[in-house]
Each structure stands twice: as structure tokens, then as C-alpha cells.
């Protein structure tokens, strides 16, 4: 079905995409951007209708990476779903682990020891730093900077992934958290290595900013492009740095106080324009705040067990009921919704992924802009296809 054939009911409303009429004569050029395209972050397709280079219609097409993650989750035990959550947003597997563990812990009322909570915070914030760094790298790569910022980001990410590997055994598919704690304890050498990496992070962010933040080309490309109004952002369920770049003060870490986030001093950076540049800067500033959290968490890490002794690994059968647990993943609000019927497998296993829902307003942001801007706006949403299509 071509994009101009899709008869979307143009429901009048402030939260609907604007209607852009092509100016001038001539037919629209229909371009299927993707699924094989250098900057669709994997197998994603956008059906564009172009008037010249101006976008007048845009329809995202999903499902090329669909593997019915939720059905898989319903067919296996609670524990066996844990490694599958790594594959959702494969850049930040540890936050996925945490979100799932949090939902299950809510479902069964499981406590988590303090040390495990600290380790979770450390790992989640390291994940956030490396995700934001690489997402900015991808964004600038899409702007055509031949990979230099991406390589700088990856150089830093490499150090963090090395930490993940030495702790969890795997660089990306960490499969680290368990219901009621974590799998392996951190060792003193690991903590020293982490402190060293964390001490080097501000230098990296400074270098990154010197390279990019004041670059005129970047400012010209990003400022005023892909504006997302705060009221639409809230209404469309946009979350994470995208929401905050639109000036909405909403951070699940601050709102839900999950884990032990209320023990740390950190601020939530907010943008005023809601354009690509604000999303970029909010990510940069969030990296700096994450570094602050990391420093505090590494300083205060208490001794103690990392697994609740009451937690069960085998024969885990929650009582009937349901729970929705969510965390502030680097890409936005990541939630798991579980219904238990008392059996060893969840009756319903649902993942609320930020990437998919943040794409709801892709059309709104892109209409009227150029093809080149579409790529940038799409990049600034910061998605991972493993999470969008599940």
C-alpha cells in the first residue's frame, strides 16, 4: 500500500498531525525510506510522500524485526524471560533487566538488598551514559559527520562495556539482574576500574561538547527543526529525554522514587524549544548528571548481600495478580506489565517500550521538513528497532 493511498481519517484535533498540502503542481514523489537504508537504525521503514524535498506525508511501517517477544514471554518461566529482555533495547540491556526485575518484584512483593540497589543504580547510570553518548554519535553521523563523534562515543562506550563484561560476563547481553537482587557481586578491582572510568567521563563529555555543541552547522541543522510542543508530547505519551527536551519536568527517577534514587542529588535538565538541538543538549546534560549520581553511588556503596535470601530461583510461582513496573530507561519510560495466574509462566507479559511510543509523533514532527531533516528527527528520537518491533 503506498503512503498516499492510506486514508487516515483526518480527525480534527490539536493532537493530530497537521495537514500539509503540497504547493504547486506535479505529482508527489513517493519514497520508501527503508527497510534498507543507512540511517533507519536497522530495519525500519518510513513511507514518505515528497513534494520536491518537502515531506507532505509520512507513515512509519513497523514489524520487520517483530519476533513476538510478548508471546515468547508467556510461553516460558519468569526467569527465562530475563535474557530476552536484553534483546529489546540491545544498547541498554541492564536497564531492561532492571525494569523487568522491578515489575516482577512488584508482582510478588520482593525486597531487594541495599547493596544490590546501589549496584543497579551504578549499572543503570553507566548504561545511560553510554546510550546517550552513542545516540548522539548516531545523530551526528546521520548529519553526515563521517563517524568522528560516533567513534569518540564508541571509544568511551567501549570502556563502559568492558566494565559490563568483567562484571556480568557479557558486553551487551548482560542478563545480570534477578528478582530480588543481582547475579554476581562486584569486586573491589571492578569498583576501582569503574571509579577510573567515571573520573574520565567528564573529560569525554567536554571533548564531545567542544567538537559539537557550538558548531554552526550543527546548530543550523538542529535548531528549530522537529519541534515538539510539550502538551502534545505529554498527550502522545512521549517520555525520556524527548519529553524533557520539550520542557516537561518528568523523570520517572524523580517521580516514582524507584530503587534508591531519592538518595542521590541530581537535577533534571530541561529544554525550552523542543527541537533536535534541545534533545541533543538534554542528553549531554543528562550524561553529566548521571556522572554525578555515579560518583555518589560509588562513594556510598554499602556492604551486604546482593540477593534477598527469600528470593527463589527455581520454582518461582507468583500468586495470581498483576503488576505494572516502570523505570526511567535511557530512551524513556520502560514498563513491564505482568499478569500472573499462579502458574510458573506469566499469563500476560507486556513490554511498554519507549522507542515505539516516542515514534507516535514522528509524523507530526517531520511534516513540512526536508528529507534530510526527517533523518535527523528520526535520529533524535533515539530508538532501537529491537525495542520498537519486539
Amino acid at each position: 500500500m503506498s503512503v498516499t493511498d492510506i486514508k487516515t481519517e483526518r480527525v480534527a484535533g490539536w493532537n493530530r498531525p497537521p495537514v500539509i498540502e503540497p504547493d504547486g503542481e506535479g505529482e508527489l514523489l513517493e519514497v520508501a525510506m527503508g527497510p534498507h537504508h543507512p540511517s533507519t537504525h536497522g530495519v525500519f521503514r518510513m513511507d514518505l510522500a515528497l513534494d520536491g524535498e518537502r515531506v507532505v506525508r509520512l507513515k512509519p511501517v513497523f514489524g520487520y524485526l517483530h519476533r513476538n517477544h510478548e508471546k515468547l514471554g508467556e510461553g516460558q518461566s519468569y526467569l527465562a524471560s530475563m535474557p530476552y529482555t536484553d534483546r529489546l533495547d540491545y544498547i541498554c540491556s541492564l536497564t531492561n533487566n532492571w525494569a523487568y526485575a522491578l515489575a516482577v518484584e512488584k508482582l510478588v512483593g520482593q525486597e531487594v538488598p541495599e547493596r544490590a540497589e546501589y549496584i543497579r543504580v551504578i549499572l543503570a547510570e553507566l548504561t545511560r551514559v553510554q546510550n546517550h553518548a552513542s545516540s548522539i554519535g548516531f545523530l551526528i553521523q546521520e548529519m553526515g559527520a563521517s563517524g568522528t563523534p560516533l567513534m569518540y562515543a564508541f571509544k568511551e562506550r567501549e570502556k563502559i562495556l568492558d566494565l559490563f563484561e568483567s562484571l556480568t560476563g557479557s558486553r551487551m547481553m548482560c542478563n545480570y539482574m534477578r528478582f530480588g537482587g543481582c547475579r554476581v557481586d562486584v569486586s573491589a578491582p571492578w569498583l576501582d576500574a569503574t571509579r577510573k572510568v567515571v573520573a574520565g567521563l567528564p573529560v569525554f563529555v567536554d571533548e564531545f561538547e567542544a567538537l559539537l555543541s557550538s558548531n554552526e552547522i550543527l546548530m543550523a541543522r538542529c535548531q528549530g527543526v522537529g519541534i515538539l510542543r510539550p502538551e502534545l508530547a505529554i498527550n502522545a505519551g512521549v517520555s525520556g529525554p524527548m519529553l524533557r527536551a520539550s520542557g516537561v519536568n518528568y523523570d520517572v527517577r524523580k517521580v516514582d522514587h524507584y530503587g534508591i534514587y531519592d538518595r542521590f542529588q541530581f537535577r533534571v535538565p530541561l529544554g525550552d524549544h523542543g527541537d533536535i538541538y534541545d534533545r541533543y543538549m538534554v542528553r549531554i546534560l543528562e550524561m553529566r548528571e548521571s556522572i554525578k549520581i555515579l560518583e555518589q553511588a560509588l562513594k556510598d556503596l554499602p556492604a551486604g548481600p546482593i540477593m534477598d535470601p527469600k528470593a527463589k530461583l527455581r520454582g518461582f510461582r507468583p500468586k495470581p495478580g498483576e503488576a505494572y513496573g516502570r523505570i526511567e530507561a535511557p530512551k524513556g519510560e520502560l514498563g513491564f506489565y505482568l499478569i500472573s495466574d499462579g502458574g510458573p509462566n506469566p499469563y500476560r507479559y507486556r513490554v511498554r517500550t519507549p522507542s515505539l511510543i516516542n515514534l507516535t509523533i514522528l509524523e507530526d514532527m517531520c511534516l513540512g521538513h526536508n528529507v534530510a531533516d526527517v533523518v535527523l528527527i528520526f535520529g533524535s528520537v533515539d530508538i532501537v528497532l529491537g525495542e520498537v518491533d519486539r
Binding site: L29, E30, V31, H37, P38, S39, E53, I140, Q141, E142, M143, G144, A145, S146, G147, T148, M151, Y152, K155, L211, S214, N215, E216, I217, L218, M219, A220, R221, Q223, G224, N249, D251, K254, R267, V268, P269, L270, G271, D272, H273, Y277, D278, M281, V282, L285, N370, V371, A372, D373, V374, V375
Partner: protein, 396 residues
């Protein structure tokens, strides 16, 4: 020192070699054979330089990105282009079913041939110019304009939407920047009074206090060089003006549907265009083959020429490693609203320079005018495009 016959001979070695070779032929054939030898030399040297440049570019980009770069094929990866060449030759040559096969086939050839023609008028050393044409500059630009044709041929004949968009972008961009390119060269012509490139070099090949009279060391020359460099980058589709092939948006732009050797030809054409336009820039503003200091004039002139060309290639690579790409409308705005007015102003300043006579006054006046114009126009540009630094607020 300059009179040392060894260095004179070294400087003229290629000319002597040609004369020696041509000497074997009857006199009637000698001019033609001489030109033919020159053509062969150009056709051999520049693709070789292209091969080297691809390695250096990849290594340079690698170093900029804190990587090592290609180092597997041959010592320090120097044989990488050979491997690349073999790969591109053995790849399947895909022609889309609905493509206009003839035009699709001709496009890379047109590109390479026209780009090669530009080298005919470039003086690559003392007495080393293939054709000493009086209107050499004009010939060069005429040939340069033909590359647009080939890009459009490639984009149109591929029957690919990305190719077509890339070709449209390329034509718009190249025509816009052609104007700037020409006008910034006109400044040099105004001062020199000649369109002949060897004469332009000769005008710059003078020294006072050991420093050369290159045009880049004058206010108008520097401004002209900068606008020339911007236009040259756009003309050769290099980052940050690589929109016609903008791989993140248009997959590969006008050469999306090319593979194998045809793609390699496009690649070659792009680099040759880079060499030729750097060569022209060198000739116009950097004193061509003349040495940077009077005590270095014993070094062969062709060394200076190629050294300066490679230096500008390095700057191209450096920019590619740093800068993101502009957007089409911003690119056009930049050309027509910023660079072109500035170039026109520069022409006025050049005229002022010419008629103010020697003395420090013309330095001060020209510099002040150009710097003030740059600052004001730059601020206006930033304001009209609505961008600038921002500050951010935090919520606790």
C-alpha cells in the same frame, strides 16, 4: 644556489625527459608526441595519486577518530587501493532493469574525461604545463561545468528516486557554487590581468624580504581564497557539502545504482576533481609551483605544486572528519545570501587594492572592510537562520 645546474636539471627533469624522448621522432611529429607524453603522464600520475590519497584519507580519518586505519594489505596498508581496485573490478556490474543503459554507462566516463581535461591547463611546475592557453582559466571552468552534466546523467538514468534527488541536489548546488568559484577567481584575474595560468603563477613568483608575493597573503586574496575553498568543497561534493551523495539521507545519492568498476570511476572522478580544483586554487592563490620562501627556490617546482595540492587534500580530509553536513536549503542560502555577496564585495575590495597604489593604507582599508563585512554578514546570517548558543534550565 638557484643557479646550481643540478637543481635546475632536477627542477626540469620531466621537461628534459620529454624532450629527450621526443627527440627520437621526426620534427613534424614532435609537438604532437610531446603533448601525448604529457597526457600519458597526467593519466598515470593522478590516478596513482588518487590511489594513495584513498589510503591516506582512510588513515587520516582513522587517526582523527583515534583508530589506526587500514593496515592489513601491504606495509602500513599501502597496498589497500590495489585490493580495492581488484575488488571493484571483480564485482558484478549491476544496471537496473528500467535504467537508461546508455546514459547510465556514459555518465562515469563523461565525469572522468572532463575532469582529466581540466589538468591540461594547470601548470604543475616551471614549464610544466600541457597546453599554455591564454584563456586557460576559462577552459578549466568550462570543463568543470561539464561534471554537473555527468552527475545529472547518472542520477537521471538510474531511475532511482534517491539518485534523482541526489542529482537534483547536485545540479542546484554545483551551479550555485560555480558562480562563487568563478567570481573568487576573477579577483585574481583583476590583479594579474591575464587568464593564463602560467602567467598568474609567474606574477606570484616574486619575493620581497624572502617572502613570496602569493595572493593569499593579501586581504582580498585571503578572502578570495576562503570563498574559493568553500566553493571548491561544494563543487567537489566533499563534506560538509556532500549532499548529492549524502549517505545518511539518500543512500548514495546519484551513484546509488552504480557498482563495480563504474562506481570506482565515480570515485576516481570525485578525487580527480578534488586534485584539479586544489591545483587551480594553488595556482591562483598559493603561488602555484613557487617556493614559500626565497631560500627554498632550489627545491624542484613540481614538488611545491604537488605538496600544496596534497596539503589542501589534507584539509579536505580534516574537514570531512570534523563537520556534519548542511541541508539543501541552508546550502543554497549560504551560497546566495552569504558567500556570493561576500565575493562580490571582495571584487570591489580587489579593485580598491589595485587602484590605491602601494603603501600601508590599502592594507588597512581592505582588511577593515572585509573583516567588518564578515562579522556583520555572519551575525546577520545567524540571526536570519535563527540559531545560536542556548542556556538550559534544570529542575530539582
Amino acid at each position: 644556489m638557484a643557479a646550481n645546474p643540478f637543481f635546475v636539471n632536477l627542477d626540469q627533469i620531466f621537461v628534459l625527459l620529454r624532450n629527450w624522448l621526443v627527440g627520437f621522432l621526426p620534427v613534424a611529429l614532435q609537438p604532437m608526441a610531446g603533448v601525448l607524453l604529457g597526457v600519458i603522464a597526467i593519466v598515470c600520475v593522478f590516478p596513482g595519486l588518487f590511489a594513495l590519497t584513498t589510503v591516506f584519507e582512510r588513515k587520516g580519518l582513522g587517526r582523527i577518530q583515534n583508530r589506526i586505519g587500514p593496515n592489513r594489505v601491504g606495509p602500513y596498508g599501502l597496498l589497500q587501493p590495489v585490493a580495492d581496485g581488484i575488488k571493484s573490478l571483480t564485482k558484478e556490474d549491476i544496471v537496473p532493469l528500467r535504467a537508461n543503459a546508455v546514459v547510465h554507462f556514459l555518465a562515469p566516463l563523461v565525469l572522468v574525461v572532463t575532469v582529466f581535461m581540466g589538468f591540461a591547463v594547470l601548470p604543475m611546475g616551471r614549464n610544466m604545463v600541457l597546453v599554455d592557453m591564454d584563456a586557460g582559466l576559462l577552459f578549466f571552468f568550462a570543463m568543470g561545468a561539464a561534471t554537473e552534466l555527468s552527475v545529472f546523467m547518472a542520477g537521471w538514468s538510474s531511475r532511482n528516486k534517491y539518485s534523482l534527488l541526489g542529482a537534483m541536489r547536485a545540479v542546484a548546488q554545483m551551479i550555485s557554487y560555480e558562480v562563487v568559484l568563478l567570481l573568487s577567481s576573477v579577483a585574481v584575474v583583476m590583479i594579474t590581468g591575464s587568464l593564463s595560468l602560467p602567467k598568474i603563477v609567474a606574477a606570484q613568483n616574486q619575493y620581497s624580504n624572502g617572502f613570496p608575493h602569493w595572493y593569499i597573503f593579501t586581504p582580498w586574496g585571503l578572502a578570495g581564497f576562503l570563498t574559493y575553498a568553500i566553493a571548491a568543497t561544494a563543487e567537489t561534493n566533499r563534506s560538509p557539502f556532500d549532499l548529492p551523495e549524502g549517505e545518511s539521507e539518500l543512500v548514495a545519492g546519484y551513484h546509488t545504482e552504480y557498482s563495480g568498476f563504474k562506481f570506482a570511476l565515480f570515485f576516481l572522478g570525485e578525487y580527480l576533481a578534488m586534485f584539479s580544483i586544489s591545483g587551480l586554487g594553488t595556482t591562483l592563490f598559493l603561488g602555484g609551483w613557487s617556493a614559500p620562501f626565497s631560500f627554498l627556490t632550489w627545491v624542484p617546482s613540481w614538488f611545491w605544486f604537488f605538496g600544496k595540492v596534497m596539503l589542501s587534500i589534507f584539509v579536505f580530509i580534516w574537514m570531512r572528519g570534523t563537520l556534519p553536513r548542511l541541508r539543501q536549503d541552508q546550502l543554497m542560502n549560504f551560497a546566495w545570501k552569504f558567500v556570493l555577496p561576500f565575493t562580490l564585495l571582495n571584487l570591489l575590495v580587489t579593485a580598491l587594492w589595485r587602484f590605491m597604489g602601494d603603501g600601508w593604507q590599502r592594507w588597512v582599508v581592505c582588511t577593515v572592510i572585509l573583516v567588518a563585512a564578515y562579522v556583520v554578514m555572519g551575525r546577520l546570517e545567524m540571526r536570519s537562520e535563527h540559531f545560536g548558543r542556548r542556556s538550559y534550565r534544570y529542575a530539582e
